[in-house]
Assembly symmetry: C2
Homo-oligomer: 558 residues x 2
């Protein structure tokens, strides 16, 4: 670890996750013996992280400073901001402050992981003020694709530091929660030391379209459709779920909800009053077939082509309750995340082949981003007018473009800091410098294992996924220089055994000789025989197949 | 196999590959005992085809009808049209007809696979006419992202059938080979029975931008860059390579070529006269560092983020000859293929972190598609005016949109045929019907193995890639009901052994008991013991880890 050298008069700002990546947002603001943490998110793994469920931050630095951490403050209830909260609380048990919806989602997680009774939870709203010893925490309403989204202002002895959370400027949101421009402007006019701002859409020049615009498109589509409507979106996009439900009800359709996360979203949304769906508008799966087609909307997950989600199973005909009928219209109210394009396209093809009419993509205006584009990022910078700028929530190139936007608004490039997770920025009222670094790498979660998967295991999975493996088993008496049983060869993921019997037999004969020679070497050991077998079989199989399966010799030494 | 029932007066049209997919284009036109095959392409595998190098068609139907096939006619030299030619020729050895550039690329392939001396090759140009017993084959020039691209017109006893090949209408191509609108219009005015037309961009409403437009953008960028330029594109996009080279030379830069396929493209292009690059403009890798930065352009592969390509290695600092310097500008003159977005983004981030300025994406106008959008597809339909229409070269939803476009141009929906590979369309001068189907599934190529990988092997690779494997080895004397050695457990791609020693030890003790009990069962066999071990270990490991590694018991029975 580099030395971290924060002077007593400096406020430190750092990310445990969220820089150089989309996901695992976790930021810290520290003055003296007081640290406030903002968000505790997960990251969804990239394709090459085979078998990894998700990625969380390395909490070592937070654990070392556990006694200083006074609170975890949440901007909003999306997985990349609250998904790792049970891991975080296991590392550092501190009070949690969150808006109503995020709090409901957090409670569900904590209940599932047995942490609900041991966690101090506080509901906040836009007017809440949290006063700690040195740091005061305030909130301002922003807009995103889920209700109750806040930016956070921290008044420290060095000045005000603002973290925007995820935001767009939706001036006509369907949640009746418009962004509080006045409060942002007030911070700006009173003076802000540093801004940490969402960089997700820094490469998009446009002003992100309002949810109201999407609602109008969806209304038009519903009016023209006579058959059933299958509406697929993210369960986490509660703003979109609200639009779909309201339009369906207005057009005289009943709603059938498919997918566990969608059911949870509907329940939370109704309980908290975000979704105005009367009981009489909800129907069970088995009731669908008794209703006229024009009175049905199926609301489901699977808009990213996830193979196990309701929509994929409806598409390929393996769903128990719903199959595609000729007059069905399927609406993908989402855009594919990079890496999911192939899966989404496959589901679209299957739906169309089954006879459905599929509406997807930007040209139909059935989706808009939850993040603001360049004009909105410039608007945030213009309202807040920070002295220093630290773009967050984005990959390197997004952070870089964002500093260029800040420069256009008057933040000189040397007042902008493109940092990495673990870098510590130390601020006073009139200075900013990088004051050190702590380790903050990725921690992989697979099943219930946290951090027990590393590069060696992933490399093995990579190798196994490409060419499979061949196991060699034999019983060897090294003293007598005898092979008492075997060798036998078994392959998985390599070639069909039945089509390659001759090759496997030849390999077996060859390995028999290899082991015999290797045993006769001076100082022969189990390991030296293993190496000889691996070398020989690798060469042989590559000559035969141009493939490199993993070779696993398993000897029983007697 | 369904019965195929073609009447003597009917001309049959079918795809062995190319329908319901992008890739492996291989079409057949048959009258009586005469079949003409168009193209012999490969398809690049989707992500879930772990370890598969590429996919080729099932040539069984062509093999069964080998004596009828008179020729393989090639539209242009891209891999999805010529990449499987050596597999095709091994199945069916017939004369090959191709334009100059495609022929040069084919010769390279045939030489590599030892088929050059046994294959009859003919160079064609736009004026070539091939007269077979019943079918006459003619060509018309189209535009694409490679020179010498042709549409093919086959005059059969039933009428004229046209296959467009890949096309856009680039009216200002940089290859000086504009599309021959007059020849297309002449076919149209004389009457065309059926059109098979490229559907790739059927979902894009725009008229695809001309290569000249891209050339102007690239010129502007070159004029404003003072440091080195690293220009990345597909080696197969010879039109783009030509633009980059010409602009570089005009701006006083030397060209260093990186990547084997790019070197081949440059050599072929220069030999055939498509690329006018004097020797004095080419420099070797080691000379770059002796030239002023503003006199260097590196032309390289890797624009799709391929991890082994020159560009990825330059980006992550592992390239032997080139590392990024602060003033470098990298141009991605390409757009990411679905599935490659994450890799491309990673390379961009790495390049920018290393200090390069990266230009990519549509907004910079440094790329245009090689395929025409909807307006061009409508233009093709308007020029050819076919009686029947069969969209080709596309996934289902593209084919479907394409039939909608045809309808707008006056081809009634019941004269359009959305077919699958293996479907046989039978045509007379005034009738069209599906006359049967032959098997035409995917054949996977992995290393030098063709078709020896199937779903079982892929499922194993999938399973291995997610949670790895655990091998159990033991020597068992079933008669004496004794475990004479073992059991031993070894895992790969599952968990770190050192961090899970206790679990593995517990598993070993458990399996010892399991084998003992299983041996004592009445009618115990090696298989019954195997099953008991798999069941027990799977349950145990899932309880411990929530993972499902593959369990491979390997017993030596003595």
């Amino acid at each position: 670890m580099d030395k971290i050298d924060i002077r007593p008069d400096e406020t430190a700002v750092f990310a445990v996750g969220g820089l150089g990546e989309i996901g695992k947002n976790t930021y810290g603001i520290q003055f003296g013996d007081e640290i406030i943490v903002i968000d505790a998110g997960i990251k969804f793994p990239e394709d090459e992280l085979l078998g990894i469920d998700y990625v969380i931050p390395d909490y070592s630095y937070l654990k070392e400073n556990a006694d200083k951490i006074k609170a975890l403050v949440i901007t909003h209830g999306h997985e990349d901001h609250i998904g790792a909260i049970h891991y975080f609380l296991n590392a550092v048990n501190v009070p949690v402050y969150a808006g109503p919806l995020a709090l409901a989602l957090i409670k569900g997680k904590l209940e599932e992981h047995g942490l609900l009774n041991t966690t101090e939870l506080h509901e906040i709203n836009e007017d809440s003020v949290l006063q700690f010893d040195n740091i005061k925490v305030e909130f301002f309403r922003t807009t995103h694709s889920i209700p109750d989204t806040f930016g956070i202002a921290l008044t420290t002895p060095s000045g005000v530091i603002i973290e925007t959370g995820d935001f767009k400027f939706d001036l006509t949101p369907t949640t009746h929660q418009p962004p509080n421009l006045q409060k942002m402007a007030k911070f700006g006019s009173e003076g802000v030391l540093a801004l940490m701002s969402d960089s997700t859409n820094a490469e998009r020049p446009e002003f992100t379209k309002s949810e109201q615009f999407v609602a109008e498109s969806i209304k038009k589509i519903f009016k023209n459709v006579e058959g059933r409507i299958i509406f697929a979106t993210f369960a986490s996009n509660l703003s979109r779920v609200k639009v779909a439900a309201e339009v369906a009800i207005a057009e005289g359709r009943k709603i059938a909800v498919f997918g566990r996360s969608m059911e949870t979203a509907i329940n939370n949304g109704r309980e908290l009053g975000y979704l105005d769906i009367p009981d009489s508008s909800l129907v069970d799966a088995y009731e669908i077939n008794h209703l006229p087609a024009e009175e049905v909307m199926i609301l489901c997950t699977g808009s990213q082509g996830e193979p196990m989600a309701a929509l994929a199973r409806i598409a390929n005909g393996t769903h128990r309750q719903v199959s595609i009928q000729p007059n069905d219209t399927v609406i993908f109210s989402s855009s594919p995340i990079p890496g999911n394009t192939q899966s989404v396209n496959r589901v679209i093809n299957e739906l169309e082949e089954a006879g459905a009419n599929v509406i997807h993509g930007k040209i139909n205006n059935v989706h808009t981003s939850g993040h603001g584009g360049q004009e909105e990022q410039k608007l945030m910078l213009s309202l807040i007018k920070p002295k220093y700028f630290m773009p967050v929530h984005g990959e390197y190139r997004m952070l870089k473009v964002h500093t260029g936007l800040a420069q256009q608004i008057g933040v000189p490039l040397d007042h902008s800091f493109i940092l990495e997770n673990g870098d510590v920025l130390a601020l006073t009222a009139d200075s900013a410098r990088v004051a050190g670094h702590f380790p903050a790498s990725d921690v992989y979660v697979d099943g219930n294992g946290v951090g027990d998967i590393g590069n060696v295991v992933l490399r093995d999975r990579q190798m196994l996924s490409q060419d499979g493996l061949v196991v060699v088993v034999a019983t060897i008496n090294l003293t007598k220089q005898e092979i008492t049983a075997g060798p036998d060869l078994l392959s998985r993921g390599f070639v069909y055994m039945r089509e390659s019997g001759e090759m496997i037999n030849e390999g077996r004969r060859r390995i028999f000789r290899t082991i015999r020679y290797a045993m006769q070497e001076e100082n022969a050991t189990e390991n030296s025989i293993r190496s000889a077998v691996i070398d020989d079989l690798q060469t042989f199989l590559y000559e035969k197949t141009e493939r490199h399966p993993m070779i696993l010799p398993m000897f029983v030494m007697i």
